[in-house]
């Protein structure tokens, strides 16, 4: 790779120019982040499409959403605000899941679960900040409804930990998928600060379950970015 000093100086200059431009237009960009009519129109279209396939959901012992039947549910069709709104709702659903399982946890495990719960609350707050006025402050109702049979069937600590681990792994896959779509760098970096926390949660829960390496790394050396392994916004639209 050859790069001349002139080219490098040009790069640095361009970086500076781009940065200055970004700062000049910051107010406008925040407005775009919060969106107005443009977002509302886009969100309505997204929800309309999502509603077509939203019923095709089954949840087994673990959270395993059916891959979307929607032809247009690819990551590239999701705008940053829609993703942030969805992620906020997923994080708040995770909070509810932890709360539901808490009574079954031992005194030794409970503080860790409460810590993870608090992390998800903070994640929800961060995504809400990113979503701006579009933030709902509510857990994902469709997801909670789909999870309810599993949550209701929880009867012991191991079940709660396994369930929580699945949710964490799916959250991680969801964010790896989201990163393929997020256009705003700050949204991408913010999401990137959250993804490895979810994987850390999942690994710790797997260890607590006494599982081996195959379960510590459910996708081997790489996290999955396949939404089929995550929580699909088309399957669980924010209402």
């Amino acid at each position: 790779m050859q790069t001349s000093p002139k080219e490098l100086r040009q790069m640095a200059g361009d970086i500076d120019d781009m940065h200055r431009d970004a700062m000049r237009t910051f107010a406008d960009e925040v407005g775009e982040l919060h969106f107005g009519d443009e977002f509302k129109a886009g969100r309505r279209a997204f929800l309309k499409k999502a509603a077509i396939g939203g019923a095709a959901i089954t949840v087994g012992s673990a959270l395993v959403p059916i891959h979307s039947l929607l032809p247009g549910a690819g990551a590239q069709e999701l705008d940053d605000t829609t993703i942030a709104v969805f992620a906020e709702s997923v994080e708040l659903a995770a909070v509810e899941a932890y709360k539901a399982g808490a009574p079954l946890l031992s005194a030794e495990i409970l503080p860790v679960a409460e810590l993870f719960l608090s992390h998800h609350e903070e994640h929800a707050g961060a995504f809400a900040a990113l979503a701006g006025d579009a933030a709902t402050g509510e857990p994902n109702a469709a997801l909670l409804e789909a999870l309810m049979p599993t949550i209701s069937g929880l009867s012991d600590e191991a079940g709660v930990l396994a369930f929580a681990k699945d949710v964490e792994n799916q959250a991680a896959a969801t964010y790896a998928f989201a990163l393929t779509a997020l256009q705003s760098v700050e949204a991408a970096q913010g999401t990137a600060t959250i993804l490895p926390v979810e994987t850390a949660h999942a690994a710790a829960l797997s260890l607590a379950l006494g599982e081996g390496p195959d379960m510590w790394f459910p996708n081997g050396a790489f996290e999955s970015a396949d939404i089929a392994q995550g929580i699909n916004p088309a399957d669980f639209p924010v209402s």
Binding site: H19, A22, H123, T180, A192, A221, E223
Partner: protein, 265 residues
Amino acid sequence: MEHNDFSRDEFNRQLREVEAQNKAAMPKWRQTLDRVFNGGVEMTSAEKAHLLGIPGRRQFFKIGGASIAGAALLAACGDDDDTADTPTSGGGADETTTTEGGNMDIVLANTAISLEILAVDTYQVAIDSGLVTTQAVADAATLFQQHHQEHADALAGVVGADAYDQANAAVKTALVDPAVESAAEEGDIIKLAFDLETAAAQTYVFAAGALSTPELRSTIMTIGGVESRHATILGQVAMYETSTVFPGAFYKSDNPLPEGAVITE
């Protein structure tokens, strides 16, 4: 691979200037978090402070100050609409390398490769040290080493002919060598691995804010997420305090690498 003949000091100086301006302007991600403070999210003052990193999580590996990679973040911060110059759909490495953003992509990818090779080498040193006496730890070290080799291979595939093929010398000198030299028991080896994995994960979070396309950002985090799992398992095995293994709800996103660790050649 040929070396550039530019002055690294001069380049660093210019980029530090840019980074200083960026710091003054404050990253927009954190600005959006102002809504947490002004909006309806109920949080304690400590939680809010933590959210902004005010108390600071443990600096596992913060050695250097501004570095070349800092400019990559600035480039990304200043380029919200990166669709204009770089592909955002199906954009492979071959496409991105034709852009200015692609140049920084290669710098970051090569830096990542160098870290992965260093991790492979470090685990080998650990395995050969005779200090690892627990079979489960030895097995984990072998598995993690294999993961790092896969990461290096994958990243090299992305970069192509210009892929770096050496361990990161600066990180080796700053972190690995002193730790290996002073290691006296298994716990010391685990600590080194924990620090290295954590630094790698943080580097990739940093890179996720600097790479030019969503696909590359996702790709680097499919690796970063696994490094985080490595660190967590090591921390749990070593029975570190919860606050050490899970220092906060967010991974740090600043560049943790020492001066000279970013591969620009």
